[in-house]
Symmetry: C2
Amino acid sequence: MLLKEKPAGFHDCEECPIRHRAVCARCEADELEMLEGIKYYRSYEAGQRIIWSGDRMEFVGSVVSGIASLTQTMEDGRTQMVGLLLPSDFVGRPGRSTAAYDVVATTDLVMCCFRKKPFEQMMETTPHIAQRLLQMTLDELDAAREWMLVLGRKTAREKIASLLAIIGRRDAALHMARADGMVTFDLPLTREAMADYLGLTLETVSRQISALKKDGVIQLEGKRHVIVPDMDRLMEEAGDDSDGGLLN
Amino acid sequence: MLLKEKPAGFHDCEECPIRHRAVCARCEADELEMLEGIKYYRSYEAGQRIIWSGDRMEFVGSVVSGIASLTQTMEDGRTQMVGLLLPSDFVGRPGRSTAAYDVVATTDLVMCCFRKKPFEQMMETTPHIAQRLLQMTLDELDAAREWMLVLGRKTAREKIASLLAIIGRRDAALHMARADGMVTFDLPLTREAMADYLGLTLETVSRQISALKKDGVIQLEGKRHVIVPDMDRLMEEAGDDSDGGLLN
DNA sequence: CGCAGAATTGATACATCTCAAGCTGGGTGG
DNA sequence: CCACCCAGCTTGAGATGTATCAATTCTGCG
């Protein structure tokens, strides 16, 4: 593809912000060195398509910063988001030559890409990589199954609450919840993207957000900034038991 | 090897019907021998619960014969099937101590169980097992994501057609399609189980099956035996492009 | 200022759910 | 051997949640 200037800042794996959570998390210094030999960084702008379903994949890689979405599209244009890729999430499938989904940058985004062939060879010889990838894939499988319950059985209101709860929980873990128990975050998705994730229309998403706001479950500052006064209340609205639902 | 009494029929991995597709597919003779040391067989009757969500898991294993389902349940009783386990499919998650889903035998079923601790140790030392498990997990992840599209965006009619297409395709691959291109199979699921899989009510399932029958897309012999005169027609009804949709 | 994309809100249509009443086929006990 | 029974299934009628179509309003930005 086009050649781009390399983003200044990270080339050294040791200082990488996702060093301890990405596919390379378990690697030793010497293994990292080998990875450095086959990696390169690439930047994408919000809205830009990273991979087209059916395309030949020449790389696999990790999201370093920003958010991307994994979507499937039917012939008539109906689309379903099947995954949300956050920093440290892995993109691509070793052993498969063509992409199964569209990958789109939702925000500006930086990827750490590995050339596919050498990466696959390293997987054979470096158990640490395969082990970590297995772990990550199992986590994604759990998340996908959790989402199947959301898509198949929850009401529109519960779907919205579930999405907000997931984003909120992640942000709470990151920023540390505030003393008063309030959780605060920016929605990284447009209403339309939320609709595609939840299997709804954007109008229904908008209505349900308004309803949750009217009922005091959430507060809004602008269109995108969400304040959750009571996380437990939100979880209740999501239909999850208060113990956390997802994993354990 | 210790000697143990074993169910008649299979004890020898070499003759196992799922030998080349299960988690042990890539193992060499010596690796199989180690597996034989930590494995045991267990039978379940149709309807029997194999694992309860939240239970401590003392084993992982493979479905040898029969069909099981993976389901999630909300507090108020709504349930969503999140996976259908066919022969050779793997049950359980190495590295996690408690089960995340209910596992129920849909038909009479035989499992090849591995004691969890020793199996996890073998995974560390035997790359062939971890590699195969990664491959299988990636396949399951793809299947789960395919199903997210079904749950989120397809109509009831398309959902039914999708389910029949999946079962039909699998059976066609197994029995070899008949010369005239007809595909024939028994539904391994009740209407209610189908509803739980598709995120519908059993009444809607029943109605849509009747509709597909009236429109000549399928024929029924009794309640469970399905005849598909034209697989391409069924795939069209499912909303998949004719090229196969799922994987490649 | 004014435009364009994003979001909200309203009115109506429609797919699916819900509740309810029968049907069917295979097994059981009298 | 028949009558009954029961789980699984089908069908109907009406209620309801979400989609659809359409009109504004908001927000940021050239």
